[in-house]
């Protein structure tokens, strides 16, 4: 199916393998239903391992650079040349001390899946708790709201009434002063304030009289009735 669409250039780039060949490193496929699929094997860069003429440094010599005497270089030698490099394969794996360190590091820095899931669950719970607490707080405050609104409204109304009354009282006093003294008297002057005090005294007396009358009135009507 792909053969017709493949141009010659692609065929040259990839070597098209039509049959099962065992020499090639990439596996070609044959579908079970019988028809052959083409797969493209590519020519990988030749792996020039240089096994015929390897450079294996002499460890005893002082001339060889220090990095050619390290374990890491030995591993690379083994990787490139295999057993002819003369490297003991045991050195490829970490030494017991190194292994201990690796295990300790893993214990410390790489928690197991269970631990991680637990941590995640704990964090999730914390977040949920916070969210719930906040929502609860909001709910309680919202429940208080109607009463608070009522109170506030009442207070503002009371304040307004008070202000209005104050204003009216002031107007009355100014008018009273105007009547008494015959001219527009400044409310801040001492005369005005004396007048205000006099008015207040008279008011108090009137109240007292009223009170005493109320008391007498309470008791008196009882007697004359009978």
């Amino acid at each position: 199916m792909a053969a017709s669409s493949l141009g010659r250039r692609t065929a040259m780039l990839f070597g098209i393998v039509k049959t099962f060949s065992l020499q090639r490193p990439v596996l070609p496929i044959i579908s079970r239903c019988g028809s052959l699929f083409q797969i493209a094997t590519y020519n990988p860069k030749p792996l020039r391992l240089n096994i015929k003429d390897p450079y294996i440094p002499n460890k005893e010599k002082e001339d060889t650079p220090h990095w050619q005497k390290t374990d890491k270089f030995d591993r690379k030698l083994f990787g490139r040349y295999g057993s002819i490099s003369g490297v003991d394969p045991v050195k490829l794996w970490p030494s017991p001390e190194k292994l201990e360190k690796l295990i300790a590091e893993e214990q410390e820095w790489q928690p197991t899946l269970e631990v991680m899931l637990q941590n995640i669950a704990a964090k999730e719970m914390e977040r949920e708790k916070k969210v719930k607490a906040r929502e609860k707080l909001i709910a309680t405050n919202m429940a208080k709201m109607p009463k608070m609104i009522e109170d506030w409204r009442r207070e503002t109304r009371a304040l307004k009434m008070k202000k209005r009354e104050e204003k009216a009282r002031k107007e009355r006093l100014v008018a009273e002063a105007r009547e008494r003294f015959g001219y527009a008297l400044d409310p801040r002057s001492p005369k005005f304030q004396e007048m205000v005090q006099e008015i207040e005294k008279e008011e108090k007396k009137k109240k007292k009289l009223l009170k005493s009358r109320m008391k007498q009135g309470d008791t008196a009507p009882a007697a004359p009735r009978t």
Binding site: M1, A2, S5, L6, T10, F14, I16, V26, L27, P28, I29, S31, R32, F37, Q38, I39, A40, Y42, L47, L49, I51, D74, R75, K76, L77, F78, G79, R80, Y81, G82, S83, I84, P89, L92, W93, P94, P96, L99, L102, I103, Q110, T112, L113, M116, L117, N119, I120
Partner: protein, 296 residues
């Protein structure tokens, strides 16, 4: 190529009688090669040689890029904002569309009779992953889901819901797996790693921010419960409106059910083994401590 045989015959006879082709007989098509204009060589390449008239332009003293003659330049006038803050800590995933995957399968660059891995994709030059640039793998995307028709066992690092649906609709299997930086480098370039002579390391588990993704069945995570995955498959089939094909009755069931262990990087190779390319041998450790370490 002409249709009639006689004209073709004449041409080849003529060709036989012509002299040998050499550099002396060859010439490019008219208009194919245009001579370049060399500066400083008279007429229209010369005079001011394309430098302009006087000033900084001709004298090569232009100010630096971005300078606007003293006005606060654009790159300084715009206030800083942390758009790119922490960009080097953000995981990136190379997108792979289903369209591209189908293209690769059609051209035979990716083998569908074996599980498809990031190594196979890189070998077929389907994607280019750069672990050093904070790439954490490949993201399967549903562009081309309508033309996708291949039964594959694919393992990617992230996948969208539509891509998962498209693959499962065709009877395939998709898994998402996490590879840390070292494992990803080894996965993308296995041969240089084998040449270094190191034992295959264990794949690390994902960090806490990614554990949730890879334990979720909707994402077909490699750490998730198989039963949940089965349920998620059914749900997805219902959601996208297709009949979920039964994989267990498939002839390629064994291949489709191949899955990597959570610590395994390559199919068929366990952590701790040393692969030697020179002698085509695999060396396995025998020390029990090492075995315990690599087996945990």
């Amino acid at each position: 190529m002409s249709a009639s045989k006689t004209t073709g015959g004449k041409a080849i006879d003529i060709l036989r009688n012509l002299p040998r082709i050499s550099l002396a007989n060859l010439r490019p098509n008219p208009g194919a090669r245009k001579t370049e204009r060399r500066r400083g060589r008279g007429a229209h390449g010369g005079n001011k040689s394309g430098r302009g008239h006087k000033g900084e332009r001709q004298r090569g003293n232009r100010p630096r890029l971005g300078f606007e003659g003293g006005q606060t330049p654009f790159y300084l006038a715009i206030p800083k904002y942390g758009y790119n803050e922490g960009h080097s800590l953000r995981p990136q995933y190379q997108p792979l569309s289903l369209r591209r995957l189908q293209y690769l399968i059609d051209l035979g660059r990716v083998d569908t009779s074996q599980p498809i891995d990031l190594t196979q994709l890189v070998n077929g030059r389907g994607v280019t992953v750069q672990p050093l640039k904070r790439d954490y793998g490949v993201h399967l995307v549903e562009e081309g889901a309508d033309i996708f028709s291949a039964k594959i066992n694919i393992e990617v690092q992230r996948a969208t819901e539509g891509a998962v649906a498209a693959i499962e609709r065709n009877g395939g299997v998709i898994t998402t797996g996490f590879y840390d930086f070292r494992s990803l480098t080894i996965l993308c370039k296995p041969v240089p790693f084998f040449l270094s002579g190191q034992p295959i390391p264990k794949r690390m588990l994902p960090g806490e921010d990614m554990v949730r993704y890879y334990t979720g069945a909707e994402n077909r995570g490699y750490l998730s419960d198989p039963e949940e995955v089965e349920r998620a498959r059914q749900e997805l089939a219902q959601k996208y409106g297709y009949v979920l094909p039964d994989i267990s009755k498939d002839e390629l069931f064994h291949m489709l059910s191949m899955r990597k262990d959570c610590r395994q990087i390559f199919f068929g190779l366990a952590p701790g083994w040393v692969v030697n390319m020179a002698e085509r041998k695999i060396l396995k450790p025998t020390d029990e401590k090492l075995l315990r370490y690599y087996g945990s």
